[in-house]
Amino acid sequence: MHDLFQRLISLPWDQAPQWFFLFPALLMLLAAAAAVMLRNLIHCALCLTLSFIALGVLFIALGAEFVGFVQLLVYVGAVTMLILFAILLTPASEVAASNNPFRSFQLSKALNAVAGGAVAMLVLAGLLAAIFFSPHAQAAVNPAKAATAPAAAIGENLLNHTLLPLQGTAILLTAALIGAALLAKEDKRS
């Protein structure tokens, strides 16, 4: 007992914090899987939100605090709220469902799922092969210095090196705001 404790405490626990990112990563993957598999749309959107929260925590664990907070603010606060509102605003109407030719034709649906699954698996296999077996995989640099992204450095970078993209993003966001409002507006003429 005493010996076991001594051995347990002599494990390199000080190396543990750099593997903490595995917890949010695992949570993120589980939530994403649930979001894909579940039937109820609201449950899908809630699982997607959980997945995004875990992704934000993962960013924070990797040292990119600012990006993690932006991820939480934009995705949890805005994007998933939009998705949830859209789900509530577009109820699946019974008439449309019965007219759907694909509802009665179950074979096509099953085929669709199998084909989609096969494509996704192929892409996954290709990506994993590229990640683990490509000659460049061994060339990956292991940094000696800790990577940090303080808010002040990001702000300076935004206004010095990426000013033009920043302005472009501002114009794009304004255009998207106006466009979305116009699109979603009820057409009075029809």
Partner: protein, 411 residues
Amino acid sequence: MHFLENLPLATKKFILDLVKGACGWLCTKLGIALPPWAMPLLLTLVSILVVIVAIIAVYMVMFALMSVAERKILARMQNRYGPNRAGWFGILQPVADGIKMLTKEDLVPRGADKIVHFLAPIAMVAPALMLPAIIPYGTGMVPVELSAGILYFFALGAGTELAVFMAGWSSNNKYSVMGAMRAIAQMISYELPLVMSAVIAALVAGTLSPTGIVEAQGGYSLGFIPNWFVFTPWGFVACLLFYIGALAESNRCPFDLPEGESELVAGHLTEYSGFKYAIFFMAEYVGMFAINGLLVTLFLGGYKAPCPFLEWIPSWCWFFAKLALLAFSMVWVRATLPRFRIDQMMQFAWKFMLPMSFAALIAAAVWYYAGRGPLAWGLSALIVGIPYLALGHFCFTRHHTADNRRYLYSE
């Protein structure tokens, strides 16, 4: 007085020393050799734990005091007694409330989505308890020092909307869904001016770190007026906008439409009872204290004393005094103002508060570059004053809407 100033930090150091001593004694007693990194790691964990316990304890005490103080103050303003049965002047009322809530039956509607219905209170209280972590309570007394602390606050605040949606939707009740929709619409609308006015303070201080913003408000002009942001034209406007936004974000009167009793039973809380309801209630109050703490940090000089000759009072006392003043003012507002109508509330956010926050942003930038002197004062006062008068005249004057008003359901 130096002793009082250092009391919280000294207590923390004492606990850490105690743990260190106890651990060393235990290890020599048992004959275990600790690796060199073990003690610092342990002490870090213990200090995190101490801070968490301290924050939760302080906020729970404030919640308990507030719940009885609010009812006493409201009663005084409405010429009645208020709670006066439990304990001396009703001081034990929170205990009685807690026992009542804990012993009530926990009802879950048959048509409810049970998992989401169960998770909603947790999703509500977890971010609310994490909010107070970045607020500087005194000199050197900030639980977590983040370079993007303000962003952290608003990122977590976004979680509340999700919890409200979960509560409303999972209850499977029309009033719940309507209340949740109202709450989300209100929170999203008022988050914009809230974030904009926080940006103004960050802009002038040149940092997103709350401690940095408090330090930027140190010192006195003319020897007695503190350099708080609220004492500048743009800061005054931004502070008021932030205060109104804070009222709306914490769903307090006059922005309590989401749970307006006379219209929606209790909004998204309709199907909650017992301890889950108490958790929602607690999350709301903790969130209110946290956002008031941020208001104190951003505009009211945080833990700084208001006059040079009062600096002998410990800094954390000043912080909590300002917080108590703001909490009292929120009760006062609740006793004074009637509830908004939903269209008035949305109009107020989008047509008045958002343009005003942009005007205050420009005024702050002008003030910053015009040298902070009398000229800067005049210019920035002009920049916030003209939009105020124009918006008030064109959007909110009675004659503008009186002609085309129609009473749809009463004719």
